[in-house]
């Protein structure tokens, strides 16, 4: 990833017609991996995607992908010339075409030089084989959304914009599609901008995060970095988490577990299809981390890391809770515990304690 | 009282003036409805509230009499049409057949529908140019359209009514067709059987064929008193 290989978005005071909403953002989005767009309802996420796609026009903005300018005050590449895929918040299929024809519409116009995903692969992944002959009005909400995702992939975009693509899908489908999206974007190096309300989804997918509020960016940066910081939007979130990257050093087929090594520490995780030597990212939710003063051998909790308490912050909204920033080596880990426990255990900054993490709570 | 008179469209201008004079003279007013003779005929057959019918031909009044829709004694010929060859541009050469054969478009009224059309056909046959000009003929639904064709210069020549040429906004150039070339264009009027105002209707019919009235009609471009 070279520095130039980046999506730059600067939008100055873009006012929507008949509305007092305005968008004013300045983003540098890395051109690989997923950038999550987070923010409350009405904060301008959809509007931002529409600006990037060229569906909203404004002279004041500047947009470029890999140094290719889509929008400056002089030029403005029309929407159909921008190499994007767009999954709309409300599927927005062509009502006069069947599901299959909707996909064909994209295939015919796909960028043949890009390879993103094969037709049969998409059909299998989205589990849409059976509904292909139906018209959009004959599909359920989730089915429509799946066709819309498939359509956006089949156009073979260089940038994928997804507006809550999985909101209408059930957990089991989500769980199948999510890793796939992850794989697609990592392997084909397509940047994805992904709007979601689910921190879970976001943390799982996103390398980079942008938080919007009232049309302004309030937080922006690497997921890993942002999550490890106290006092941010995320550390106040009930799902406050950190992301840890390590290397698989050992595996046990019998128990279906892998040992992940990072910063001189080991974490045991449920085994997926990773192999020894692979790099892996894990999410550790602050609420899944408990502390003890001594190692406890007779507990079902497998992961016990020796950490140093780096910082402690009371939750301003909820005084019964304390957020701790722990350092496992140099890797920050957040732990959310009751104020009573910190009192009982007499926890203080600089103290060395044991962080207990249920391995099953790790996400991939 | 008011007399309701159905008048063939080609007699609009004269009847408007005559109506005023009749009103001044008798104090009775006329209500005029215009239309092609065919249309008026169909309306009369379906009980149209007319007292008198001024047709552009004789056939229709006679047909009404046969149908007992008109009073048989009342039939009069109130005007005889005069056919004229008319153009907006000077007509040359001056002999009729040559002028006709040289023209690009010649407008006549539909011979099947309009007495003037029939007269035009007869005249053209008389001049032995009927076959020769077939490709140039354009037909108006009535003599009014034949006039408009010529007036707009879409037709170089038109066989129209003299009355039109006289009443029209542009006089142009015209050569009257001798009466001998065609059978008379007799315009007949009848009193309709349904009228409640027979006496008044008779008064108007008498007014129509009175010598001074006929002179005025002649002034509009009709030949009168031939019969």
């Amino acid at each position: 990833m070279t520095k130039s290989n980046i999506l730059k978005v600067r939008i100055r005071k873009y006012h929507l017609k008949d509305s007092n909403f305005s968008l004013d953002v300045d983003l540098n989005i890395p051109s690989t991996g997923v950038t999550a767009l987070f923010g409350p309802s009405g904060s301008g996420k959809t509007t931002l995607l529409r600006c990037i796609a060229g569906l909203e026009k404004n002279q004041q903005s500047e947009l470029s992908l890999s140094n290719e300018f889509w929008q400056t005050n002089k030029i403005s590449l029309p929407a159909h010339k921008r190499p994007i895929g767009y999954v709309f918040q409300e599927a927005n299929l062509f009502p006069h075409l069947t599901a299959a024809e909707n996909l064909q519409f994209a295939i015919k116009r796909a960028d043949k030089s890009q390879s993103v995903i094969s037709y049969s692969e998409v059909i299998r992944l989205m589990d849409i084989e059976e509904i292909l002959p139906q018209y959009p009005s004959q599909l359920s909400g989730g089915e429509r959304q799946r066709i819309a995702i498939a359509r956006a992939l089949l156009i073979r975009p260089k940038l994928l914009l997804m507006d809550e693509p999985l909101a209408a899908l059930d957990d089991s489908l989500k769980k199948e599609i999510l890793p796939y999206l992850e794989a697609i974007c990592h392997s084909s190096k397509i940047p994805i901008i992904y709007v979601s309300h689910s921190l879970d989804e976001v943390i799982r997918l996103a390398d980079h995060m942008v938080v919007l509020e009232k049309g302004r960016v309030v937080e922006q940066g690497e997921t890993q970095f942002l999550l490890g910081k106290l006092g941010t939007f995320f550390s106040r979130h009930k799902d406050a988490s950190v992301v840890i990257t390590g290397i698989i050093t050992e595996q046990s087929a019998q128990w279906g577990l892998s040992w992940l090594h990072f910063d001189n520490q080991d974490i045991i995780v449920k085994q997926g299809n990773e192999k020894i030597g692979d790099q892996l990212r894990l999410r550790i939710q602050s609420k899944d981390v408990s502390l003890s003063l001594s190692p406890q051998e007779d507990s079902s909790i497998l992961n016990r890391l020796t950490v140093i308490i780096d910082d402690m912050i009371k939750d301003p909204k909820d005084p019964s809770m304390v957020m701790l920033r722990l350092l496992a080596g140099s890797t920050p880990i957040l732990a959310r515990v009751t104020a009573l426990s910190t009192h009982n255990l007499a926890l203080s900054k600089g103290q060395t304690v044991i962080a207990q993490i249920k391995s099953v709570a790790l996400l991939r | 009282a008011t007399l309701h008179v159905a008048v063939a469209s080609n007699f609009i201008s004269p009847i408007k003036q005559l109506a005023q004079e009749f009103e001044q003279e008798t104090g009775h007013s006329l209500q005029l409805s215009f239309g092609s003779s065919g249309k008026l005929f169909a309306q009369i057959q379906n009980n149209a509230p007319y007292d008198i019918f001024l047709s552009a031909d004789v056939i229709k009044p006679k047909a009404l009499i046969d149908n007992k829709m008109a009073l048989s004694y009342s039939l009069i010929v109130y005007a005889k049409g005069q056919l004229t060859l008319w153009s907006m541009k000077p007509i040359s050469p001056l002999t009729l057949p040559e002028a006709l054969l040289n023209a690009k478009r010649i407008a006549i009224a539909n011979p099947r529908l309009a007495p003037y059309g029939k007269a035009a056909e007869e005249s053209l046959r008389h001049l032995s140019v009927w076959e020769g000009i077939q490709g140039k003929l354009v037909q108006g639904e009535n003599i009014g359209q034949a006039y408009q064709f010529t007036y707009s210069e879409n037709a170089n020549l038109g066989l129209v009514a003299l009355s039109q040429v006289l009443a029209g906004p542009q006089k142009g150039y015209s050569i009257n067709i001798p009466n001998s070339f065609y059978k008379g264009i007799n315009q007949a009027a009848v009193i309709l059987s349904r009228t409640q105002k027979t006496v008044l209707a008779e008064t108007f019919m008498a007014f129509l064929i009175r010598a001074d009235t006929q002179a005025k009609i002649a002034h509009f471009g009709y030949s009168t008193k031939k019969n």
């Binding site: 008949d18 | 309701h4 609009i12 409805s33 239309g35 249309k39 309306q43 379906n46 509230p49 009014g144």
Partner: protein, 232 residues
């Protein structure tokens, strides 16, 4: 050039006729269009075609047949007579009836298409909000079909104003009763009074233009539709 009292009478009559006919047609077309838009019956095609039939015959001929039907010997004329009603031909009422027959398709079609475009969703939402079929027709279907109604009004009104053949046939060209502007202009042309014909035509065109431009400005892109502006 001055307008004669007859011209003025014709103008007044035309406005009266066109307004009345348009109003009645809108009322009458609404249930027809609604039925046509929503029925699944195979009757739909034929009924639709019947509604369009008056278009196919030349107006004068249509007028001729109306005259036959409404006349004392005609099927409908006899019924009206038996009911003690005065005959329709050569009366203003007759003109209204004839004009309605003639302009019907132009009013039904746009309304029907507008009803079709609404779809079921808003009506279903209304049904779950305790809105009865009539209620949701009035408060949901009608407002959503507004552009169709404006089109229908425009086409119906303009067509009635310009109509002529039917009127001439059924009306009998009686001043102040059935002599509308179109007939009056025609008479002027026939009488070679081109000047008056031009004046009246111009007046009519100017008036109609004003009315229609106003009506069309009502039919602007609905406020609730995202502005087209940018994209296409």
């Amino acid at each position: 050039m001055q307008l004669s009292p007859e011209d003025l009478g014709a103008i007044w009559l035309t406005l009266k006729l066109a307004s009345l006919v348009t109003l009645l047609l809108i009322l009458m077309s609404t249930p027809i269009a609604w039925w046509l838009a929503r029925t699944q019956s195979w009757f739909r095609g034929p009924i639709n075609a019947i509604v369009a039939m008056p278009l196919v015959l030349p107006p004068t001929v249509l007028g001729f047949y109306l005259l036959l039907f409404l006349g004392p010997q005609g099927a409908i004329g006899k019924i009206l007579d038996d009911l003690g009603l005065s005959p329709l031909p050569f009366s203003f009422s007759g003109l209204v009836v004839a004009s309605m027959v003639y302009s019907l398709p132009f009013v039904v079609q746009p309304i029907q298409n507008a009803f079709i475009a609404i779809g079921d969703k808003p009506l279903e939402a209304a049904a779950t909000l305790r809105s009865s079929p009539l209620n949701r027709f009035i408060y949901v279907a009608l407002p959503l079909a507004k552009p169709g109604y404006i089109s229908a009004t425009i086409l119906g009104f303009a067509h009635t104003v310009g109509e002529f053949g039917v009127v001439l046939m059924i009306g009998g060209n009686i001043p102040n009763e059935t002599k509308v502007v179109s007939v009056q202009i025609y008479d002027h042309v026939e009488a070679l009074e081109y000047g008056q014909a031009h004046t009246l035509s111009l007046l009519m065109v100017a008036f109609a233009f004003t009315v229609l431009a106003f009506l069309y400005s009502l039919q602007k892109r609905r406020k609730h539709q995202p502005a087209a502006g940018g994209l296409l």
